[in-house]
């Protein structure tokens, strides 16, 4: 184990290199670009013994990845934002054909307005596509989760692809120290790719993803659902083995100072450390604050969330996507469903959109509202935080008539 310095994209590339893919097909898109570029460097320099297919779009990147993986090699691709949106159709094929691809997704806002910056609207839009989803909170965790995801996705009871999601710029371009296993240690953990399901013989090709009649379709979906059910247990085992080998604890959810907490926030992604920092500040002032971080969003760890939060009086859930038209954002809706039947008061906080910083000040304000709510003050079910006061006057268009 060596200490290396990586930005988030570098950590993703290192994890891919350690997993020794045979085929790589990636299309560069900000803020993922340096993954596509450095994978190409690795192939050119002989650090990865793979065929790099230069594709013309993300739709093709995933199509190539599926075809290649079905011949029996581990594959690599990566994307972000509108790239993921363009891939959407084929992502469903990956999941439904049970092709266990592991893909880093660098979180960036979806259009419009056009943006290059971080929020979770891209991967939240894919949350029901049939992929496992992990959200990293540090650069270290990108490497750790990616290595674990190969084992979880490729497990014969799971055979379901994984998105390893991490925040654009906050993690993708943040240089951090990363304890990195040696090539041998990592290979001993990840192991070679073994096909365990339908496969393609390049000498005797066949058509895949053909029409499935209604009399079988529900059952095919049910098989996928069972894959997700199994994934929860497999993830637990893989995380435990990873900790034993490498000394770093991973879990579907992470509880932080929740034992006696009266108010808590639920976080996901790179905002989590800042949230913990504010919890520590509040604790010093005698406020019983805590935090729950969701690391695995698919399968959704409802039982663990309920277990961790059921005794917390007031809870604020952070949603880094707008959830337009929904009663509450995607993370809050599911946390609330998990807490059904408890007496917890659950509120949604939407913000951090398109790169707007979620600062320690943001968390202090939110905890202030939660503490007020605990004292009986009324609080709206959903609050958009850190919104400019002139929101409704921005870019106003004067009509000519």
């Amino acid at each position: 184990m060596a200490v290396k310095m990586f930005d988030g994209n570098g950590a993703a590339v290192e994890a891919i290199r350690l997993a020794r893919p045979g085929v790589i097909a990636a299309y560069p898109i900000t803020p993922q670009s340096s993954i596509a570029e450095h994978l190409a460097d690795c192939v050119a320099e002989g650090k990865i013994d793979a065929e790099y297919v230069r594709v013309e779009s993300e739709h093709s990147a995933m199509s190539v990845s599926i075809g290649a993986c079905l011949t029996g090699v581990r594959v690599a691709t990566a994307t972000a934002s509108v790239g993921l949106a363009l891939m959407h159709e084929v992502c469903g094929v990956t999941a439904g054909c049970r092709v266990p691809i592991v893909m880093p997704v660098v979180n960036r806002s979806l259009v419009a307005p056009w943006s290059l910056w971080c929020d979770h609207s891209d991967t939240m839009a894919e949350r029901d596509t049939g992929w496992l989803q992990f959200y990293a909170s540090t650069v270290q965790e990108i490497l750790d989760l990616q290595l674990c995801a190969y084992r979880i996705s490729e497990h014969e009871d799971v055979l379901t692809p994984s998105m390893v999601c991490f925040d654009g710029f906050y993690l993708s371009h943040s240089m951090q120290r990363v304890d990195t296993p040696s090539d041998e240690e990592a290979w001993d953990f990840v192991g070679p790719y073994v096909r365990k399901n339908m496969y393609l013989d390049p000498k005797d090709v066949m058509f895949i993803n053909d029409l499935c009649p209604t009399v079988e379709h529900t059952e095919m979906k049910y098989q996928q659902k069972v894959g997700f059910d199994k994934a929860a247990g497999v993830a637990k085992d893989v995380f435990a083995e990873y900790e034993k080998r490498f000394g770093r604890k991973l879990s579907a959810v992470e509880s932080y100072r929740l034992e006696d907490a009266e108010v808590a926030v639920v976080t996901i992604g790179s905002m989590s450390g800042t949230g913990k920092y504010v919890v520590n500040q509040l604790r010093e002032k005698g406020i019983k604050a805590g935090l729950l971080r969701i690391c695995m969003f698919r399968p959704f760890p409802a039982e663990e969330i309920r277990e961790a939060l059921q005794n917390v009086k007031v809870i604020g859930v952070m949603d880094r996507s707008s959830g337009l038209g929904a009663f509450q954002g995607p993370v809050c809706s599911e946390v609330k469903a998990a807490l059904l039947g408890t007496s917890c008061q659950v509120y949604d906080f939407i913000g951090g959109i398109a790169g707007r910083d979620i600062s320690d000040g943001s968390f202090r304000k939110i905890f202030g509202m939660l503490t007020d709510a605990a004292a009986g003050k009324e609080l709206a079910g959903t609050t958009w935080f850190d919104v400019r006061e002139d929101a409704m006057n921005l870019r106003e268009v004067e009509m000519p008539c």
């Binding site: 310095m5 910056w117 710029f169 240089m175 951090q176 920092y277 600062s359």
Partner: protein, 183 residues
């Protein structure tokens, strides 16, 4: 914990400097650092920012720096580009500035109230040592004068990060360190 904010102009390597500082602190000083680069619609000549948090224990915060302990200005012209480098500063905030002009130092002191200012002609140090007007390695040398990082850690990180130009940039950092004055 020390919070640092870099102000530069696109093309000067301020964002790269933040990453190299992170390497210096994490690998060669065995402490912890987090960099949060504020990427914008980059183009050469536009203001750019980088945020770095340094601590002797793992850094939890992962957001921008709003109340910097140290401000590093990679180009003294920033003051005339509509950028407020005094934002969130207190009189105790330390300024490290790339300038060859006492007049500029006085302007920054008067405008923002910095009590402690380290000045270095990092552009000259860069031209002298690497032959290019890219003052980022020199500014890291100047930054070492604040005590946030040792000059040895800076030089080792610079040599590592700049590949075939590593030695020259390491030389620029040390030269700048030796030519930084408490102005």
């Amino acid at each position: 914990m020390q919070k640092i904010k870099f102000y530069g102009i696109g093309g000067q390597g301020a964002v790269t400097a933040a990453k190299v500082l992170s390497i210096a602190v994490s690998v060669y000083q065995n402490e912890y650092a987090i960099t949060v680069p504020a990427y914008g619609h980059e183009r050469r000549g536009a203001p750019v920012y980088a945020h770095i948090i340094v601590d002797d224990k793992p850094v939890l915060l992962n957001c921008y720096v709003y109340e910097p302990d140290i401000v590093a200005v990679f180009d003294d012209k920033i003051i005339d580009m509509g950028v407020n480098v005094g934002e969130g500063c207190t009189p105790d905030t330390v300024l490290v500035i790339n300038t060859s002009s006492q007049e500029m130092v006085d302007r920054y002191r008067k405008e923002y109230g910095f009590k402690t200012i380290f000045a270095c002609d990092a552009t000259h140090a860069a031209l002298e040592n690497i032959g290019l007007n890219i003052p980022n390695s020199s500014m890291l040398g100047a930054l070492a004068k604040t005590g946030i990082v040792t000059i040895d850690a800076v030089c080792q990180a610079v040599v590592e990060a700049f590949g075939k130009n590593g030695e020259k940039n390491g030389g620029a950092a040390r030269y700048a360190y030796e030519h930084t004055c408490n102005a």
